[in-house]
Symmetry: C2
Subunit: 95 residues, 2 copies
């Protein structure tokens, strides 16, 4: 799951703490494989989380605490965001 977002300007408004909590909570979910996240000084961020299945992604999207975070995200923290669900077909790295 690829999550690109732009933060609202101004105060943190509890975002940093919630973001950390959501990463910790995601790690405890069934089917979680990993997460990589980066945000630059302009407030643009990309978070990629890896899951075993579509079912695992849907379950995480519907998790009660995550839903609260999502609502606050829409209302307070994000000026804009896009979610893309994508299936990894192949992968390679530095030899």
């Amino acid at each position: 799951m690829i999550f690109t977002s732009v933060r609202t300007e101004g105060e943190d408004q509890g975002y940093g703490k919630m973001a950390e909590q959501m990463v910790e909570l995601a790690k405890q979910q069934p089917g979680f494989l990993g997460v990589e996240s980066v945000r630059d000084a302009n407030g643009f961020g990309i978070t990629v989380s890896y899951w075993e299945s579509e079912e695992a992604i849907r379950a995480w999207k519907g998790h009660a605490a995550h839903q609260i975070a999502q609502e606050r995200g829409k209302a307070e923290w994000y000026a804009n965001y896009t979610v893309r669900v994508a299936k990894v077909e192949r992968e390679y790295g530095m030899e």
Copy 2:
């Protein structure tokens, strides 16, 4: 295509200029749909580029100027990187 990377420490070594050139070149390739890229102050970056097809991705990987950049990336600019080719299945954004 999801490209996660860690920059080598120290000087830029021409990286910034090459990265810009590669984005401009990618935009001119057949099947290119878009690119989003972010790197934080610790040198960790995620670049996601979107392409119409696997064929377009393979052609871009094999592009002569891009191959030179890839070789310099391995030799000089990246301490580590991973490439994941993934197929977008669905997408949604902020209402």
